[in-house]
Symmetry: C2
Subunit: 189 residues, 2 copies
């Protein structure tokens, strides 16, 4: 493993716009363990920031309560390791707002890379994305909740990452598992 491979990688977990089971565009609910698991994976693999994207006021409040409990509330002293992870999270209204914030830090807009469980033509492989990350430009890796990212987000992205495949034809991992595996593959190369 290249221990010191620390690309300028950002991750976004998107709750809007995503699709539901019927393919309709919805805003999904924030899930407590998505935040914990993805923050811990992000911290393990040197991700610079984990953005939780939702425009819904009550969902932003819920996400903030979860984060605050572990970063400044009772959880922060009970489990400081959890604090370190959850401190990586910033809540944003939209992917556009995420791009603006990364621009303000990096002085350039990140390339966007969307993830999907579906096979598509023109996907970028894990090996290709690993090579891109070596070029020292910022990248934003985008995960959808619900039944996946809305088509409008996929078509606007710079890259579509190939789906994770195991040794079966079953490809229904949770977003928590998918994020963990993808970060491991990308950083290990």
């Amino acid at each position: 493993m290249k221990k010191l491979f620390k690309p300028d990688l950002y991750v976004a977990l998107v709750h809007y716009p995503v699709v539901n089971k019927s393919g309709n565009v919805i805003a999904s609910a924030v899930t407590n363990l998505d935040l914990h698991d993805m923050a811990r994976a992000a911290k393990t693999y040197g991700v610079k920031q984990l953005y939780v994207v939702t425009p819904l006021a009550d969902q932003k409040e819920l996400a903030q309560e979860i984060i605050s409990h572990w970063t400044s509330g009772a959880g922060s002293t009970f489990n400081p390791k959890r604090r370190q992870a959850l401190e990586l999270i910033t809540i944003k209204d939209s992917i556009e707002d995420v791009l603006q914030e990364i621009f303000s830090v990096e002085k350039s807009y990140p390339k966007t890379v969307v993830t999907s469980a579906k096979d598509s033509s023109g996907c970028t492989s894990f090996a290709e994305f690993h090579e891109l990350l070596e070029e020292a430009n910022p990248y934003l890796l985008i995960f959808g909740t619900g039944w996946g990212l809305a088509e409008e987000i996929i078509v606007q992205s710079d890259y579509l990452l190939e789906p994770i495949k195991g040794n079966t034809d079953y490809n229904h991992l949770s977003v928590r598992s998918a994020c963990s595996i993808i970060l491991d593959r990308l950083i290990r190369g």
Copy 2:
């Protein structure tokens, strides 16, 4: 990727004996999303059976309710893919019972491989374990909940798998993330 590499691999998620934050041996509570995420990862990577180990009657009942909702209840028709994953789960009182069941199927006892986030001497690397899996003997990969498996389980096991390392010194992944990454590394080789 070796697409047809399908070893005789079993996974156990252990709720007793595990340790709590203070290092005391406890029985931990069953967590809904552990079952979902680990079953979906197990199904993706061709694991033959996922054992949920707890001796507590109420926790066995809770686990069975979660499984039944998705395998024969309302969830089974709402989301058949979830059914396929959760059908992999069998609830057992103890690791000993798991070993007996695997023996009854495989006609030999599996080698046991415990996982830990801690560095230890004499660990088996992912590459070494992948090679062992190619030898067509059954293996049982054991994950602990809480703050990890009790020492008595670790010392009795045949192998101790090396901990997952990212590109940082942070190593506090959830058991759901760890299981997903470990299966991906083992099956891909």
